[in-house]
């Protein structure tokens, strides 16, 4: 496996939607190389006949009736919105507007 480098840290931070400063990029790259180096030892464990753990619980699917219940009032849910418009959370457009829409 390739060691993680600065470019890959930058790429993955983008996937994680986190802006990093140049200083952070440099520091985290070195630190993550050390941590990933310690994780590499898992390669040496023979897991050919071992299933992955999905859960430590002795539970299968937990079923319940689908019952309608009151939900939180809209005013309460919206009260802490950084920006809102009426009963909506307001954000920047994520798609460009189509002229014919």
């Amino acid at each position: 496996m390739l060691p993680i480098d600065r470019g890959r840290v930058e790429h993955v931070a983008g996937l994680a939607r986190i802006a990093l400063t140049d200083e952070e990029l440099d520091r985290f790259t070195g630190q993550l190389q050390v941590v990933l180096g310690a994780i590499e030892q898992l390669k040496d464990v023979d897991t050919s006949a071992v299933p992955p753990s999905a859960s430590v619980l002795p539970l299968e699917n937990v079923m319940r009736e689908d019952e309608p219940r009151p939900s939180l009032p809209v005013a309460v849910v919206l009260a802490q919105a950084p920006d809102r418009e009426g009963d909506l959370f307001r954000v920047q457009a994520s798609l460009e507007e189509r002229p014919d829409a």
């Binding site: 496996m1 993680i4 890959r8 840290v9 993955v12 931070a13 983008g14 996937l15 994680a16 939607r17 986190i18 802006a19 990093l20 400063t21 952070e24 520091r27 985290f28 630190q31 993550l32 050390v34 941590v35 990933l36 310690a38 994780i39 590499e40 030892q41 898992l42 390669k43 464990v45 897991t47 071992v50 299933p51 992955p52 753990s53 999905a54 859960s55 430590v56 619980l57 002795p58 539970l59 937990v62 319940r64 939180l72 309460v76 849910v77 009260a79 802490q80 919105a81 950084p82 920006d83 959370f89 954000v91 920047q92 457009a93 994520s94």
Partner: protein
Amino acid sequence: MRELPRTITETAQRLRAREVSAAELADAFLDAARADPFNAWLCIEPAHARAQAGAADARLRAGGDAPVLTGVPWACKDIIGTKGIATTAASKILAGYKPVYSATVVERLDARGAVMLGKTNLDEFAMGSSNENSAFGPVRNPWDPTRVPGGSSGGSAAAVAAGQAVFGLGTDTGGSIRQPGALSGVVGMKPTYGRVPRYGVVAFASSLDQVGPLTNSVEDAAIVCEAIFGIDPHDATTIDRPIDVRRDLDAGVRGLRLGVPREYFSPTGVEPGVTAAIREAIAQFAKLGAEIVDVSLPSTDKGLAVYYIVQPSEASANLARYDGVRYGLRVPGRDLVDTYKKTRGAGFGPEVKRRMILGTYALSAGYYDAYYVKAQKVRTIIKREFDAVFERVDALVTPTSPTVAFPIGAKTNDPLQMYLNDVFTLPVNIAGLPGLSMPCGLSEGLPVGLQIIANSYQERMLFRVAAAFERATEHHQLRPMKAA
């Protein structure tokens, strides 16, 4: 009032003897919390506490059978949601956020009449082992304020150690209750996965997280467990099992088989003073009639690698919700994605960012099988090793942490060294088992934690073993000098 009570049992007894009222107790503890020199609290809630104390006094006056927690002042780790009371997870991204409902554990303590004093400091999103990763400054150890209290539940641990609360709640994903319990000289207990509802608790790594108590006695920890254990329709991972975990507190350890896993004593980095205190505790168990059994958990040294894949992976998914849209911090960018990036870049501290990147990397296309699936397979191996050992023994005894409390700043630039603090606690989360840390003496004047591990749902056995040790020794009576 004479000295403030240290334990739930003592508090309950003094309240029922009418020696003190819940209102007087609440005021005295609020004063102690306000005078806290350790940065243990992120907010103190006098009006809330007084209202709960007033209700508790009414309940106690009415006589009958008020629950043992009625009127008992407690400290809530600020990652556990409290309706209308700020819940920050010690992160700038949640500064000012007030949940619109309380966590199930808080509702259960409210229903029993406990008095919440306020919210305690922690490592941001519970990511840390020293409480230095808080956006609101580090917590100091009441035994030596130049040292860390452990983490991530460092505020609750310090508050309980310093006598500013009778008990605290923490959360434990890889050791975050037991390790600060050990370093701060109190009892810290992580229940079996599935025992305690996680509903309303800020999610970190959902297959590992459990809420549990920090207390000044083993019986107190069992009392809190009985209050917060049990199935919750809001958390499908809770499981229905008997919760009378106090039943065998007096049963002793004569005839029990206690396993000592040799891998917990061999790695370099375990301080000689820690090993000596644990060896002495094991000798005490033998003196009390337990049979000491040498056992092996060969994959112990793989636990750290498994944990630092599974935990950041789950965290990177859980923390995706902090996007600046519905609550909390928003830093506007040039478009929506840029707003997400700027918000999260400004709102998360360095350790959270590192783990988000590590987790996103481990889950990303091309790496998922090599990291995440591989780790979950080795997790199966670790769980099977515990299963096999628990066919031969009733409980395991180990050190909680390889070291005593270390100086503030000593490990902040070396994440791997920091992670190694949890090498003996995180296998317990990986396997979903219950574990407890309790004081077992001092090394260099600082507390050493003895970890007891039981099989899944065997909290009754866990508390039985711990209570036997506590009753035979006086370590739990030692107090930090600075706390008085």
